[in-house]
Symmetry: C2
Subunit: 336 residues, 2 copies
C-alpha cells in the first residue's frame, strides 16, 4: 500500500526519520539523562522505540498518559510533570503504583494534599523558573518539600520548565538565559534535596550540559514541527498531515486538511513548493510558488507549525518509508 | 451531579441556552429555509433538537458526518457541502442512499466523475462566490450541470459560501457585500437549474431574506463562540470548556484547559472577569481583572473563539442547566 491509497486527512510518520531523530537525541542526552515527554506524541508504540534507544524514564502531562504508559508496561519511571488537584484522578493513578514507578509534580499545599490523600508515594517539587505558568515560588520549594515529607511522601527532587526560552533564536543568548533559569532551579534543588533536577525541552536539549539538570524533558524532537525546525537542531521533520487536492482554480488549490486535523496556534502550516494562504475547518488554500497549481487528487504533505496538539487530533498514524505504508500505530494516549 | 464534580477539561453545553438559540434561529429561518451545518457540533443528539424545531434538512462537511446522520435516522435530506475525489469514500456514502436522501457538492470534472463512479444520485453545483476556496468559476456552473445530467446525475441546484463575509463588522456593509456575492450565485443558478440555492452561515443568517437563497447553512449559531458573538446576533454563548485552577501565584492562575481541548486559530479564548495571557498545550494562564486570583480547585468556564474545531476535540459533552449536570451527549460524528 502506498500513501496515495490512504484516506485523507491522515497523520503520517516517516519511520526512518523518526529513528534518526531518536538516535541523534540519544547522543546529546543518552539513557536516563533524557526523560522523553509523552505529551508530544501520545503513542506507546513510538515510546518503545525511545526505550530501545536507552530512555526508560518518561515525562507525561496527563493522568491518562501516565496510566496508559503503565498499562503498556512502560512504567519503569513515569513523571507527571503537571499539577492535579482532582483526588479521584490521582487515586486512579495511585492504583498503577504496583506496576509502575509513579512520581507527581506538586507546587502548592493543595496539590500536596491531593497527592497525599490519593495515596501517591513519590512527588517532585515543581519550581517556577520564569515562565508564567505552574511551579511554586523558588523560595518556597524547600518548605513545600519539608511539608511533603511530613505528610509521608518521598520527595525525589525538583523540576522547572524554562518554556519561555524554547524559541530564543540567538543560541548564545538562549544558552545564557537557560543557565540563569537553571541557576534558580539549582538553588531550589539544594533546599529540596533528592536526586532529580528535571528541566528543558526540545528547544534547549543541547544546552543543559552545564546547567546541573539531571534529565531533559524533550518530546517534539522525535517528529519535529516547522516552529522547532527554525532552531537548527539536528532533528528532521518526520511527520506530516497527508491531504488531497479536492478543488483547484488557476490561482490556488484546496486540500482537505484544516483546523480539525492540524493545530495552527504557532501559525500556518507549510507545504513544500506552495504558499499557504489560510486554513479553515476542513480546508487549507495553497498556491504554487511557480508553475501550475497542483492536480486534483494529488497527495500533499502538510507540515504543521506545532506538533503536540496536531497529533492529539488523530486516532492513529500511518507509518511510512518513502511513499510506502508499512504499519499503523494507534495514538493511544489521547484524552485526559 | 454538579459541574464541580466533573473531571476536567470537559466540554459543557447549557441546554436552555441551546434551546433559546435554536428557537431564535427558527424565527429567522424557519423549517427548511435553514439547513443546519453539522460540522460545527458533530452531534446527532443536538441535531434532533434542530429537527424538533422544524429543520429536517442538514449540511455536512465530511462523509463521516453524512453517514453518521443517515445511520441515526436523520437522513431526510443531507447535503455534503464539500468536495470529495475519493471514490471509495463516496461509495460508502452511496450505500446509505437507501435510507437517506444524499446530495453531494461538485465543482469540477473530477468531482463529478468521482460522484458518478461511486453511484451518487444527486449533486449540487458548488459555485465560487468570492472566498478563495472551493467552488467552480460561476461561468462554468451551467456547463458542469449539463455534464452531470449527461452522466445520469440529478442536479438539484447550486450552493455558494460567502465565508469571506462572515465577519464584516459593519452590518450594512455586510448586507451589501452578501447581496453582491449572492447575485453571482443567482446567475449561476439560472444556468444550472434545479430548485436549491444554498448559501450563508451564522454570520449572515439574517441577511438572506432578499438574496434569493432558498436555504442557509448555519451551524455555530446553536452554541456560539466569542468571535461570532461580536456581530450582535440574537444568539447567546451556550457552550464552554470547563477547566480547573491547578496552580496559582499572586499575579496569575493556571487552568488545565489548553490547545488540546480548545482551538485558538481565531485568537485566545475568554474567561469572565479574567485576562487571558496565553494558552499552551495543557494550560491557559489567566489573571484576575481585579481582586485576588482564583482559588486552587475553582471551576472555570472558558469560552473558545472558534467553536467548530474545539468541539471536534471532545468525545462528549456534559449537558448542564446552571451548575447542574443533567445529561451527557456523545460528539459522535468526529473523524473523517
Amino acid at each position: 500500500m502506498t500513501i496515495d491509497q490512504v484516506a485523507t486527512p491522515a497523520l503520517i510518520i516517516d519511520v526512518d526519520g523518526l529513528d534518526r531523530n531518536i538516535a541523534a537525541m540519544a547522543v546529546i542526552r543518552p539513557g536516563t539523562s533524557l526523560r522523553p515527554h509523552v505529551k508530544a506524541t501520545k503513542c506507546t508504540t513510538l515510546a518503545r522505540r525511545q526505550v530501545a534507544a536507552g530512555h526508560t524514564n518518561f515525562t507525561c502531562a496527563t493522568v491518562r498518559e501516565m496510566v496508559g504508559m503503565a498499562q503498556a508496561d512502560l512504567g519503569y519511571d513515569l513523571l507527571l510533570a503537571n499539577e492535579v488537584v482532582d483526588v479521584e484522578k490521582l487515586a486512579a493513578l495511585a492504583k498503577v503504583q504496583d506496576v509502575a514507578k509513579i512520581t507527581v509534580a506538586i507546587d502548592s499545599d493543595e496539590t500536596l494534599r491531593a497527592a497525599a490523600t490519593a495515596g501517591i508515594e513519590n512527588v517532585l517539587i515543581d519550581v517556577n523558573v520564569g515562565l508564567p505558568r505552574c511551579g511554586c515560588d523558588p523560595e518556597m520549594a524547600g518548605n513545600l518539600a519539608d511539608q511533603a515529607r511530613r505528610a509521608g511522601l518521598n520527595v525525589r527532587g525538583v523540576m522547572g520548565y524554562e518554556g519561555h526560552l524554547m524559541m530564543v533564536m540567538d543560541r548564545a543568548d538562549q544558552r545564557r538565559k537557560v543557565e540563569e533559569a537553571m541557576a534558580i532551579l539549582r538553588r531550589a534543588a539544594a533546599d529540596v534535596g533528592g536526586d532529580i533536577i528535571s528541566g528543558g525541552g526540545t528547544g534547549s536539549c543541547d544546552l543543559h550540559d552545564t546547567t546541573g539538570v539531571t534529565e531533559v524533558q524533550a518530546g517534539s524532537y522525535s517528529l519535529m514541527d516547522s516552529q522547532y525546525s527554525k532552531l537548527g537542531l539536528p532533528f528532521e521533520q518526520a511527520m506530516w498531515i497527508l491531504g488531497t487536492v479536492i478543488s483547484r482554480s488557476p490561482k490556488w488549490s484546496v486540500i482537505n486538511v484544516g483546523l480539525k486535523s492540524l493545530c495552527m496556534d504557532h501559525g500556518n502550516p507549510s507545504v513544500s513548493g506552495q504558499s499557504v494562504w489560510f486554513c479553515s475547518d476542513e480546508h487549507t488554500t495553497i498556491a504554487a510558488d511557480e508553475g501550475p497549481q497542483l492536480a486534483l487528487g494529488a497527495p500533499v504533505r502538510v507540515t504543521p507549525a506545532h506538533i503536540d496538539p496536531t497529533i492529539a487530533m488523530h486516532e492513529g498514524a500511518w507509518i511510512v518509508r518513502g511513499n510506502e505504508i508499512i504499519d499503523r500505530w494507534n495514538i493511544d494516549l489521547r484524552g485526559w
